[in-house]
């Protein structure tokens, strides 16, 4: 499991998910890998995607998305590109509503939703 004492999460929702995974004994790594998605003519990476979590027990990456539609659209495009380039990589996108409902299920305040 990641060491939250030395981690700085980008958003409160990521820390909450880390706590949920810890609770259920699921090992996780925070942003362990960046996947190049696009390169310029010199072969330099100009766009990449770093999913928020990797769960080695399930060989699964998780990305939490915001409730803002413009950002969701951009991430969806990145996710499609990632799936095209890395078909063997398993990624799960948690949309804002998904995560909010998950928090409601645990009777937690939805303000932690991304």
């Amino acid at each position: 499991m990641g060491d939250r004492a030395i981690l700085r999460f980008a958003h409160e929702s990521e820390e909450e998910l880390a706590r949920i995974l810890d609770f259920y004994g699921i090992r996780w790594e925070y942003e362990p890998r960046s996947f190049p998605l696009d390169w310029d003519e010199q072969g330099r990476v100009v766009e990449s995607f770093s999913p928020d979590f990797y769960l080695p027990d399930f060989d699964l990456y998780i990305e939490l998305t915001t409730l803002k539609q413009s950002l969701v659209t951009r991430k969806n495009r990145k996710l499609r590109r990632l799936r095209d380039l890395y078909p063997n990589v398993r990624v799960k996108m948690f949309y804002g509503r998904d995560f909010r409902n998950l928090l409601v299920k645990y009777d937690l305040h939805p303000s932690a939703a991304p």
């Binding site: 706590r19 949920i20 259920y24 699921i26 398993r90 998904d98 645990y106 937690l108």
Partner: protein, 186 residues
Amino acid sequence: MATPEISQVLLTEEQIRVRVRDLAAEIDRDYAGRALLMVTVLKGALYFLADLTRAMEIPLAIDFMAISSYRGGKGPSGAVRLIKDLDEDLTGRHVLLVEDIIDTGLTASYILRALQARDPADLAICTLLDKTARRIAHTLPIRYRGFEVPDLFLVGYGLDYRQFHRNLPYVGVIGDDFLRREPASS
């Protein structure tokens, strides 16, 4: 509907009754000649287990367990733990874990690990509802599923919202508008 927060009925009492009967027949066939132990986790699958087992004909035993719930910053931190253990010994038994719903699969994954450690002959899952949209634990041995359901907040037939609505005879949807308005309890 008597409860205004429920925006629609997803599964009627009749749909559930028919599907549960079909599942019971399927399990009867598959486990014929084997002593089956059906295990469930309190409290959500209570109604499903009761209806499912009463529709079955093979000899079977039932047992219950309960686990602590995740409470975020509000409760004691730490790990999930058993707060009621099984009474039955699982060694060499054919065990079917009966769930009301598999969502992220994190709870089922924990329970399976706990059950597997007790050396059952066979371990599988029967879930009434399978919500795959948020599935994290995607390797669960789900052998029987009643309905695949969309990513909605569901209540009734054992499922709750803050411990209420479990006793509804149907599966209903708590509306998004209501969830957005409702403050969390403290």
